[in-house]
């Protein structure tokens, strides 16, 4: 169990030590969240580092209006969106970005292709629109509450519930094709 108060208290007294504790606690879940969004390990590494640099810069300003983990996920999600939008700015359409991500999934040094169902499941997730993909990943893998996802994405709980429902239906369709 992550003790967020302890991390913040330590950070206030000794920023390096407090931040070390924060990285220890959140590095892996945040990496996997980013990895599911950007697919490639190299891209996930860059986005993860940017995320933690931002967290360090703004941790002083964190006012506990949400939990630390929600705040961290929000920064990580925004960094993922920024990264994907940058790809779109480089003359790639939304569909092309989706194809690019699919390509990365199918040709990566750090993907285990032995388990076909797991790979197919990730492909199914990649067919979802970006917003649905974020909601599905946060709910399905990270088991966050709709309220927490609402704070992360800025969407209403009802909208998120419907996004998650449609995402699951689409994945089911894809998996049974």
């Amino acid at each position: 169990m992550i003790n967020e108060d302890k991390i913040r208290e330590t950070f206030a007294v000794n920023p390096d030590k407090g931040f070390g504790m924060l990285m220890e606690a959140f590095q892996q879940p945040v990496y996997w969240h980013i990895r599911r969004m950007v697919v490639s390990h190299d891209d996930a590494e860059d986005v993860l580092q940017e995320t933690f640099i931002r967290i360090f810069r703004y941790l002083d300003d964190f006012r506990a209006e949400s939990t630390l983990s929600t705040w961290i996920y929000r920064i990580a999600t925004n960094e993922c969106i920024r990264f994907l939008n940058n790809r779109k700015e480089q003359t790639l359409s939304t569909e092309e970005v989706q194809e690019e991500l699919m390509g990365k999934l199918m040709a990566s040094e750090y993907v285990d292709y032995d388990n076909e169902m797991e790979v197919k499941f990730q492909k199914a997730i990649l067919t979802l629109p970006e917003k649905q993909r974020i909601v599905f990943n946060l709910r399905y893998y990270d088991e966050l509450s709709y309220e927490a996802i609402s704070e992360i994405t800025g969407s209403k709980v009802e909208t998120l519930k419907s996004n998650y429902h449609f995402a699951k239906e689409k994945i089911k369709d894809y998996m049974t094709k």
Partner: protein
């Protein structure tokens, strides 16, 4: 058709892997980057401080050069600095800055023969032109 797929078949397993020792390396690299950023910030603040001090010193020197502080001479103290803004002729400025004694000495010198000779020489030069 949809009912055939059970999410529990996949669960939370993913086909993704990371290089060996990735998380340890990442933590060390991020901490190093943060330390470098802190150093850069400190240097930047130092630079701003030095620039501010140097700028203030330069402004002070400029003020001292163009608007020297009033002399301790009570006669000169009577002259305000306001007139400086209106004076354009350097000769006039020079004369106005002279003390009474200096002015007297200068008048005495101007009445001297050598002065007249010098002045006449100059006038002669112009006439020849």
């Amino acid at each position: 058709m949809n009912k055939d797929f059970d999410f529990n078949e996949v669960g939370k397993r993913m086909p993704f892997r990371t290089p060996e020792g990735f998380f340890e390396k990442m933590q060390a690299e991020t901490m190093a980057r943060i330390k470098a950023e802190k150093r850069r910030k400190k240097l930047y603040r130092l630079k701003i401080g030095i620039t501010a001090v140097l700028s203030a010193a330069a402004i002070w020197c400029g003020v001292m050069f163009f608007f020297p502080t009033q002399s301790s001479d009570p006669v000169q103290q009577g002259i305000g600095n306001e007139w400086l803004a209106n004076v354009e002729d350097p000769m006039e400025l020079y004369l106005q800055q002279m003390s009474d004694e200096e002015l007297e000495a200068w008048i005495e010198f101007s009445e001297n023969d050598i002065y007249y000779e010098l002045m006449n020489e100059n006038v002669g030069d112009y006439e020849e032109d």
